[in-house]
């Protein structure tokens, strides 16, 4: 038996029991309106204030540094998965989270606004914009 056949047989022997009944369906999705560039186009550095953000978006998911950094988040469904084999099965959904990272000066006036996204990536660590978020695994 050639090396290729042995490798292919081993691959099949591994793949068949592990991948049987496994399916991942991508779901068409987009950035939620609340944290999109279009929806946040009203925000102008030097003009918009912390009060404006709370009035339009409510309280942030996380507030840091005496409320000078706000992190807003919204997510959308990205994938539906199902895995089954024999008499057992499991399924679930995978969401993609979108973030608006907002920095104010000491008077509460907007200094900087950035948009980020990720499945499990901490946007604060990834961008260096803020301290790590609780519960996120970079």
């Amino acid at each position: 038996m050639s090396y290729v056949r042995v490798a292919a047989t081993l691959l099949l022997c591994t793949a068949i029991p592990t991948l049987q009944g496994c399916i991942i369906i991508p779901v068409p999705h987009g950035r939620p309106d609340e944290v999109s560039a279009e929806t946040l186009s009203w925000a102008e550095p030097g003009i918009s204030t912390r009060r404006d953000f709370i009035l339009k978006l409510g309280d942030p998911l996380v507030s840091q540094h005496d409320d000078t950094i706000f992190v807003y988040a919204a997510d959308s469904l990205a994938y539906v998965w199902f895995a089954g084999g024999g008499y057992t099965g499991a399924g679930g959904t995978i969401h993609k989270t979108y973030f608006a990272l907002v920095r104010f000066d000491s008077c509460g006036v907007l200094e900087e606004l950035r948009l980020a996204d990720g499945y499990s990536k901490d946007p604060c660590i990834a961008t260096g914009f803020c301290d790590s978020l609780p519960g996120m695994r970079p």
């Binding site: 944290v35 309280d59 998911l61 507030s63 409320d67 919204a74 989270t97």
Partner: protein, 128 residues
């Protein structure tokens, strides 16, 4: 042999059974009017709000801005909650209140909840 009318009656009965227990959710404006119309700008004070709703989920700018989480279970009344979201199919909002320097309510807004994390993340002010 089934007649057409019998078939349509059977279809209607099937739909009625399947839809039992479904209740429509009131629009946000209606919920704001029904549950929070007593929170009246120009009349209600910060003390009134705390007495009725408890401490807010978040407070900003020397307590001149309060944010409450609001949960509206299907078919039941709305209530304020200290957490960002609840387990289950509740409709979630956030009640944002702006007070002036004397503690008098200036403005009231009911917004959609942006993000309901799993597991739930308590806000810094949350008292479970």
């Amino acid at each position: 042999m089934m007649t057409d009318s019998f078939k349509s009656m059977r279809g209607a009965a099937f739909l009625a059974i399947m839809l039992t227990g479904c209740a429509s959710i009131l629009p946000r404006e209606a919920i704001e009017h029904q549950a929070f119309s007593w929170v009246d700008p120009g009349r209600t004070t910060r003390s009134d709000v705390i007495f009725a709703l408890g401490m807010p989920r978040s407070a900003f700018e020397q307590d001149t801005i309060f944010v409450y989480g609001v949960s509206c279970p299907t078919g039941a009344g709305c209530r304020t909650v200290p957490w960002r979201g609840l387990v289950g199919g509740d409709v979630r909002f956030q009640l944002v209140l702006f007070f002036d320097a004397t503690g008098l309510l200036e403005r009231r807004e009911l917004l959609n909840e942006l993000y309901v994390p799993e597991p739930m993340i308590p806000s810094p002010n949350a008292v479970p």
